[in-house]
């Protein structure tokens, strides 16, 4: 399903709709809140790219690897067209993720995602979390041997 931009919505509402869709694992609806040329930066994964396909892949990978993924939003901060969401992502690994093999470990990571909204669509998203914490939770021992348990 795709949705058209809701021009009367505030930037915070646009981002909240993204977060709500992500929280219910509806990646398609989440990505529908983004501009087709959205700039996507995921610092811990070294991703810096453009387009909803990239955003779709980032979200899909998370939902696929952690089927019980739970997104608990603690704050949504609107500063003009920039909206910052603070949330905790929790889940149990069921498939490889970011090079880490599945050892069925539980993940809980505090994250901050910074969005820019223009004309009712997300035009920029930058995700911040600590990959050291993520690997620690997933029982990865070394950065140069991520796939070796």
């Amino acid at each position: 399903m795709t949705s058209s931009p809701v021009l009367e919505s505030t930037p915070a509402q646009i981002v909240q709709s993204f977060l709500d869709a992500f929280a219910r694992h509806d990646v398609e609806a989440a990505v529908a809140a983004a501009d087709p040329r959205v700039a996507v930066t995921v610092h811990p994964l070294g991703i810096r790219a453009t387009g909803t396909e990239v955003l779709n892949e980032v979200l899909t990978d998370l939902v696929r690897a952690f089927p019980d993924l739970m997104i608990s939003v603690s704050r949504v901060i609107a500063t003009g067209d920039v909206v910052t969401a603070l949330f905790k992502a929790e889940g149990t690994q069921a498939a490889s993720y970011a090079g880490a093999i599945n050892q069925e470990k539980h993940l809980d990571i505090d994250q901050a995602w910074r969005f820019t909204v223009a004309n009712g669509l997300i035009t920029d998203v930058s995700a911040y979390w600590c990959q050291a914490q993520l690997y620690r939770r997933l029982a990865v021992k070394r950065y140069d041997e991520i796939a070796i348990a």
């Binding site: 920039v82 505090d110 911040y128």
Partner: protein, 158 residues
């Protein structure tokens, strides 16, 4: 000493406080950074997580008890520590969000990372709240500590 401003809090004045904070950080003026914060200002660095055998030390607490020693230690370990504010967004409620690159060359041990003279530069996202008195009453920051460790030549996930 903490100074109370008589200026009204606006998006611009709140952003000005945070800009000054990073100017002082760049100048390694930890006392000056602290003076920009309220006496009981909250501090949270979620990536700071030191696992011991029986407990985990986290970067949560107050600016004066957790933040100040962390900043002081970081500057000691990275004597050329610097920052570049890439973006800064604020509102009239005193919320300020800043994307900042922090960088430095390691000279002393930092956590479990032994000094190897390596340089790191890592993007950080800082979230501040500036009170009506134009003092920072909350600082939170997110970054990827794995990126820093790897740039410093430390390959173990501690």
């Amino acid at each position: 000493m903490t100074q109370v401003s008589t200026l009204p809090r606006t998006a611009e004045s709140a952003a000005g406080v945070v800009t000054e904070f990073f100017d002082r950080y760049r100048a390694h003026d930890v006392e000056g950074m602290t003076e920009l914060c309220a006496m009981n200002a909250a501090f949270s660095y979620p990536p700071v997580e030191l696992w011991g055998k029986q407990r985990v030390l986290r970067g949560d607490g107050k600016v004066r008890t957790i933040g100040k020693p962390l900043w002081t230690g970081l500057i000691a370990s990275f004597p050329n520590l610097s920052n570049t504010v890439r973006t800064l967004a604020s509102n009239d409620d005193g919320d300020v969000v800043a994307e900042v690159d922090v960088e430095g060359t390691q000279q002393l041990a930092w956590g479990l990372v032994a000094p190897a003279g390596q340089h790191y530069r890592e993007p950080h996202l800082f979230i501040f709240h500036v009170g009506p008195d134009l003092l920072i009453d909350s600082i939170t920051a997110y970054w990827n500590d794995a990126g820093i460790s790897q740039q410093l030549g430390h390959t173990e996930v501690d």
